[in-house]
Each structure stands twice: as C-alpha cells, then as structure tokens.
Symmetry: C2
Subunit: 134 residues, 2 copies
DNA sequence: ATTATTAACTTGTTATTTGCAAGTTATTAG
DNA sequence: CTAATAACTTGCAAATAACAAGTTAATAAT
C-alpha cells in the first residue's frame, strides 16, 4: 500500500484526515458511493477517470480498514459485495460538499459538470442531510 | 510530475479539485501557509511529516501553476522566496476547516493536537475570515 | 448438465513516482 | 575571503501505479 498506513504520527488532524481518506482514488470512490449511488467493485471499475483494478482493491481494503466503508454480501447475488459508507464515511459529507463547491467556483472548462454544484447551491443543508441519512 | 497534470477531463468538479490540490503533500504545504504562517522553501522542508526536497519542489511548482500559490522574492534577502496563498488558494479555507474538524471528530490518538480544532469550534467564522483576509 | 459469462479479485510486468543523499548556484554572514 | 545558508537539482534505489491477463466462485444460457 502507500504512505497512508505509515501514519507519520505528527498528531495533526489534517495529516490524520489525509492518511485516512486523502488520496485521489479514495476520494473518487467515496464520491461514487456518496453522490452517484454506486456500490460494487464493478461499479467502481467503471469510474470515468479509469482506476486500475489492483489499485481499486487496495483502496477499498484501506477504506474499509479505516472504517470509512463497510462491505457486505449482496443478498440477491452471492458473487457480489455491496460497499457502503459507514457513519464515519458519511461524516465526510461536508468535506465533499466544500470540494465540489470549490471546484464549481474555479473550474472554467466548458465541459465542467455543474449538476451537483447547482443542487448544493440550491439547498445545501438538504443535500447534506440526504447524504447523512445514508 | 504526477497524475495531476493529466487532467482526465471527466468534467467532474471533485476530480477537478483533486487534480488541482488533492494530494497529501500539496495539502500539507497549504496547511503550513494557511495555518502555521510558514512561507519559505526551508520552512516547508521542516514539515513534521518530512517531505523530500524534490517532491516539495514539484508540488510548489504545481500549486503555483494552478494559481493556488504565488512566489515572490523576499525583499530583505535576495536568496529567499516567499510563497503565499492567492485568493484562489485562500478560498480553500472552508475545505481545510472541514478536514480539520473531521480529523478532530475521529482522531482518537492520545497525541492528537486539538489546538486548531478547538479554535475553529470556538469561532469558526472568525477563523475562516482570518484566513480569507490573507 | 454443460458451457458461457459475470463479479471480484490477484498476479506479473513495466512505467512512474517517491525517498534519500549529495551536489549546485547565488547570496549573505563572519 | 571563507564559511554558511536558501533554494533547488541530480542520481539512484525502492515503492507505487498502470496495464494486461489470469483465477475462483457463482449465476445465466443452451
């Protein structure tokens, strides 16, 4: 794995947070679950940004170990697993929202997708409560 | 450099944000400037978490290219440069605050430093305005 | 009942990035 | 004039990531 499990023990809450969920792929997986309702390994493999299979496996394992994600069998299909956010994972909602809003403010590209940005601007609290409800 | 400059063009604001500032070292450098008043290359080299010199140079270059940091000569010492946050960089304040708060909520380690957490809890708006004032 | 397909990974290999030690250049301090 | 310092850069080994292919168990199709 990477750097995250070394836990440099600086005691800083920022470093702690980053060690727990702060890398590109972890946050994109969290986005998929939190915002796009994706739940399975194959859902994540289809992420637009294209994650490698071994890296995805590594990140899922790490996020589960950190208590951000939970993994359960799919009751309707014994070869599937369903990944979901734990309470601790849903508590990332406000960070995710701020990341989206910042992106919305500074992304000038024509292909920028504004859907989530607009939704949050319209009713931020509702958006957040919705995530936290699980 | 890494991955960040590939800009996978997914159009997603989360991916955009992560490509701009979303890796461990970038965020730790931003923490140093935003919260600890550090401004120089040698300040950053002394980060508790221990960043490699070549990686630091890479991240500073990237953050400057992305318009998060500005680099100016130190008027009092011609061999120094002073790095500072741009408006766009200071606009990361709310993300940083949420990251700190999340860390504060979930870091159970005895050595966890609560200073910033407590300050933000006491007066979040003041804390944020202070950062945004530059 | 076989065979094909799917889901979730794992493995092997190559490419990229990181970490670490040392070196460079332009100041500034003694 | 010599030693330090600031900000990098370079070289190289080690760790990670990307890419392609393979494995195993379970479901779907014939």
């Amino acid at each position: 794995m990477r750097n995250q499990n070394k836990m440099r023990q600086s005691g800083c809450p920022v470093a702690f947070s980053l060690d727990t969920f702060g890398d590109r792929w972890s946050l994109l997986v969290i986005r998929e679950i939190m915002l796009l309702g994706k739940t399975t390994y194959s859902d994540f493999q289809n992420i637009d940004e294209g994650i490698a299979s071994n890296v995805l496996a590594d990140r899922l394992k790490h996020l589960e170990a950190e208590g951000i994600l939970a993994k359960h069998r799919d009751p309707d299909n014994r070869r599937s697993y369903i990944y979901s956010l734990t309470e601790k994972g849903r508590d990332l909602a406000s960070i995710m929202i701020e990341i989206i809003l910042w992106g919305g403010r500074h992304d000038q590209r024509p292909q920028a997708i504004r859907r989530a940005v607009d939704e949050i601007k319209k009713d931020r609290d509702g958006f957040e409560e919705n995530i936290r409800a699980g």
